[in-house]
């Protein structure tokens, strides 16, 4: 049994709840104490230093240190912006949805603290268009906080102004890419920008901008209220501090969001202790740890600890910590084809290698699955992936090749069986 079972959540503090925590309830549980403390007793620089000292790394996927990102914002006068990435669209990821649905004020407090730290008066929460109910709840929470003078003009009686807008997307995975998100906010086709300049210098409206994931910002109120020393008692310092919400889905008995300290549990413990094991007691074939955007971990890697560095050492990425469990009855070729169908659909079309390559990868995978594969297809999949990865403007192209290259490498005999037997050896699912 995982030692993490004794852990008391600090982000999703109301397990099992579906309705939103109101402003009064949030405040009665210590909410907005960090906001009040920052406004009355801390300079913006002190807020940034505290977040730096916490070791908080971005929870959206890249794991970049949040405090360092904030410190890149120039101190010169002029408009600055905060853009919150709530465009949660990675397959297997549903943590930001629950944070917004149940803990909207924790998210808003984090947004406000980020605004204060970098000197921004305006923030946009970019939420995917399909999340209608979460967006409605967030807007209601903003209205509550503004009516109580917690947010808005002259927050808590100070001279600090924070206006948070909820901006709803319209169905495009690429908007989760930070510069595409900015393009979307500016009313343009959401296609990634080339960098440099980076958003900290030229972001929204060509002004300095911090872009953080919802979960990243939801960590900040606790860091400011209780201090970075407290935060460092959670997780495995110095590089994997704090809590993480693990999204568990696929062939497990109890899928869901599980908040645990980084590094406290292994993949196996998450599946067995929290997910209550694989459906039907079947064996695990592999686990995707970063949605469909990183290499699959094979069954011999189940004792990998769930933190950024351990998962990377095992050959994959923690990413958004979206674990999709594939059991022994799962056809790996079909799984890869499904994942590639996603990237083919979501490629924005700006870069030719990604636009054309993802479609070709999908077609080759599909023909192998349908029994029309050729022996040369496996090498073709790998070489074609090499023509996409690293040759495009954003990470989508790299992500799109991961499911292909890793599964061809790790489960090559299964691909070869499809080709030699002219069909899929698995039961349909």
């Amino acid at each position: 049994m995982s030692v993490a079972l004794n852990y008391v959540p600090v982000l999703l503090t109301h397990p099992g709840r579906t309705g939103p925590v109101s402003l009064d309830e949030y405040c009665s549980e210590g909410g907005y104490a960090g906001w009040r403390k920052a406004l009355t007793a801390m300079t913006p620089e002190q807020v940034i230093e505290e977040v730096k000292a916490s070791g908080l790394r971005g929870r959206g996927g890249a794991g970049f240190p949040a405090g360092m990102k904030w410190s890149f914002i120039p101190k010169a006068p002029g408009a600055k912006y905060v853009a919150v990435n709530a465009d949660e669209s990675e397959p297997g990821t549903f943590k930001d949805r629950e944070l917004i649905e149940v803990e909207p004020h924790r998210v808003l407090e984090g947004v406000a603290l980020c605004c204060y730290a970098i000197g921004a008066e305006t923030a946009f929460v970019y939420i995917r268009g399909e999340y209608v109910e979460p967006a409605d709840r967030l807007e209601a929470a903003i209205a509550e906080a503004e009516a109580a003078n917690v947010l808005g003009a002259g927050c808590l009686g100070t001279a600090v102004n924070v206006k948070i807008h909820v901006f709803r997307g319209a169905g495009a995975y690429i908007c989760g890419e930070e510069t595409a998100l900015l393009e979307s906010l500016e009313g343009r086709r959401p296609m990634p920008r080339s960098r440099p300049p980076f958003p900290a210098v030229e972001g929204l409206y060509r002004r300095p901008t911090v872009i953080n994931n919802v979960e990243t910002l939801a960590n900040v109120p606790g860091i400011i209220d209780r201090g970075s020393a407290w935060y460092n008692t959670i997780g495995t310092p110095p590089r994997n501090t704090g809590p993480k919400i693990f999204c568990l889905s696929g062939r497990v008995n109890r899928p869901g969001n599980y908040e645990l300290p980084l590094g406290a549990a292994t993949v196996r413990e998450l599946i067995d202790d929290y997910g209550q094991g694989v459906i039907g007691g079947k064996a695990v074939k592999g686990v995707l740890t970063a949605g469909v955007s990183a290499p699959i971990l094979t069954a011999d890697k189940l004792d990998t600890r769930l933190d950024y560095d351990s998962v990377q050492a095992a050959g994959s990425m923690l990413g958004s910590a979206s674990l999709i469990v594939l059991d022994e009855a799962t056809c790996i070729v079909r799984a890869a084809a499904l994942m590639e169908d996603f990237f083919r659909h979501e490629s924005c079309g700006k870069c030719t290698p990604c636009r054309e390559g993802t479609s070709w990868l999908f077609k080759i995978l599909q023909r192998i699955e349908q029994g029309h594969g050729r022996p040369a297809d496996l090498d073709l999949l790998v070489s074609l992936s090499g023509e996409i990865s690293g040759k495009v403007l954003c990470a989508l192209g790299d992500f799109a090749t991961s499911p292909v290259v890793a599964t061809v490498k790790q489960y090559r005999e299964e691909y070869e069986q499809h080709i030699s037997e002219h069909g899929c050896p698995f039961e349909p699912w």
Partner: protein, 159 residues
């Protein structure tokens, strides 16, 4: 015929677009919200509605058109009365999404043939993998669609 049914925006929609355009730091930020408002008003986005939304925001019509042709939630053609979109991406597929699509298409065959209902399969993920299989009915999430729940959904849609 109302103004909206002719592809023109209602006064209240125009007013709301104007309000948003004035509220944001730059007016063009209101373009995507404007198109969503226009679609909610008219039912879809015919050329007249796209042009009018662009005019109120103050951008070229082509700027609006390139958003309409990009985003999957914007429709330039009229759709069925009820659009049911089933997620068939990996986490949902691992929990029976294809069976769900088959059951919905069989149970709603008459409604689909009459053009009243559409059952669409998508490779997009809707962030409901822990409640799979699932579908979106308009703006609503219908989750944990086991046998009983999908039967109720079919009944609800007249099947």
């Amino acid at each position: 015929m109302t103004e909206a049914s002719a592809g023109r925006l209602s006064e209240s929609t125009r007013a709301e677009i104007s309000r948003l355009a004035a509220m944001y730091p730059e007016r063009r930020t209101a373009l995507l919200p404007a198109l969503k408002l226009a679609q909610a008003d008219v039912g879809f986005l015919p050329p007249e509605a796209i042009a009018e939304a662009a005019d109120v925001v103050g951008v070229p019509h082509s700027a609006a058109l390139e958003l309409v042709s990009f985003y999957t939630m914007l429709f330039s053609e009229p759709g069925p009365a009820r659009r049911l979109i089933v997620c068939a991406q990996l986490p949902c597929a691992l929990r029976g999404a294809e069976g769900l699509i088959r059951d919905l298409r069989a149970g709603l065959r008459q409604q689909i043939e009459a053009g009243a209902v559409e059952v669409e399969r998508t490779s997009e993920c809707f962030g409901a993998c822990h409640k799979a299989p699932m579908a979106r009915l308009g703006d609503e999430y219908r989750e944990r669609l086991d046998d009983a729940a999908r039967r109720r959904l079919i009944d609800e849609l007249g099947g």
